[in-house]
Amino acid sequence: MAPIISVQNLSVTLGGHLILNNLSFTINPGDIVAIIGPNGSGKTTLLKSLLGLIPYHGHIQLGSTNLGYVPQRLDFDRTIPITVTELLSIHLQQKPYSKIDQVLTAIDAKNLSHRPLGVLSGGEFQRVLVALALLNDPDILFLDEPTASVDAEGASELYTIIKNLQRSRQLTIILVSHDIDVVFKYATNVLCVNRRLVCSGSPKQALTQTTLEQLYGEHQTLYPHQEKH
């Protein structure tokens, strides 16, 4: 299978600081890839360089130009008067407009369609951003800590929706996450980043005691969440 993302010798320097150093990896179509690492390790920088939002050295090849993106923090003026439907209409690249209803239904947010954006809760707003990213049928979906401003229940719901979308639409998903539990539960592959690529592969193979210590320092062990379902 030809990879949908191919990265060779990727390095990024911002403000004179080397943020990413010589990363090489490939991602196959349909994978859910989690980028993990400690704070300041270059996870968001890696995502932004894949999206072409920041300058980089090296070679990045994407198998599609149809991309969806949910940023980590949206610097958005919540007093802008716009409804969910209007926001999606403005971003819709090709008719029919029924796609707006479809995408809102897919993320279980049909009831939000005529609500002004400014009154939505953190979780509702995050769903709208996911709907926005899915609107133009992307082949690759990039999510930068999509549940950072959502409670545990909302986060679990959002990841279930994303997982279902990946199955039904054959999406490739690249997500940045802090939550190792999420990585084990939803990701098919993992990229461990701490300026350089510390490990990669399936979560079970890649996330060993040694690689976790390399990533987060010594005395790091995996403790599964005691979640009630």
Partner: protein, 280 residues
Amino acid sequence: MLEFITLAFMQRALLAGLLTAVTLSLLGVFVVLRRSAFFGDAVAHFAFAGIAVGFLLGLNPVLTAVVVSLLLALGMGVIQRHAPGQSLDTIIGIFFSGAAALGIFIIGLLRGFRVDLFQFLFGDIVAITPTDVVYSLLLLILVGSLLAFTWRPLFKITFNQEIAAVSGVNVGLYEYLFLALLAIATALSIKIVGIILVPALLVIPAATAKNLSQSFRALVLLSAAISLVSVLAGLVGSFYLNTASGATIVLVSIVFFLTSLLLPNSRKLNLSKLKSSQIK
């Protein structure tokens, strides 16, 4: 009561004023949403410097106002994009002061008292010529048609630059285009309504409409409507009160703004329940 409408100078004032009001209120929606009200003030002062340059060199002041405004606005855009670490506020403040100082410096070099210069600066809407009316119509057509083609990418950039860029919008190109459009519209409007009224019409009607709206469609329509009513009421008021027309228009629009602050959220206008397909 309606005698003002029979006077030719008032007819011209009304026509040019209303046309300019619509033009500036449409651009104003983006100025307000981008939180760059201060930028509107700065561009008005760029035009002031440009008018002074025109008088100094003996050239058409409208033309020099357009050229100088364009150069300074785009220059400001280049510094903003390529000088990281400088806040937008600081850059605008420096350009604002610099343009005002340049204008005053040049006026000091001019010999004698120039009444025509002060007309340019403070705008005399009741001294409007038929050519000015044509100018304002052409400006509305230019701004209206360019916004008709660019409002979607401009809104996407206002919402989030990164999402816009990922969806294929050339962010830099549209940013410069908006700055250029704002500079041209401001420079041409100053001849008609003056340096005080241009930033006011750019900001106050759109800010008032923002307080009254829950949807983007309502925002655009209300911004134009409030601007039209402000100019109409201000002109008629100034006629009967024998006050300065520009200042009266600004004061009327501020009354609308203050009133809009009293409206509760539940009473705000939301026109988005019209069919999605109507949002084109």
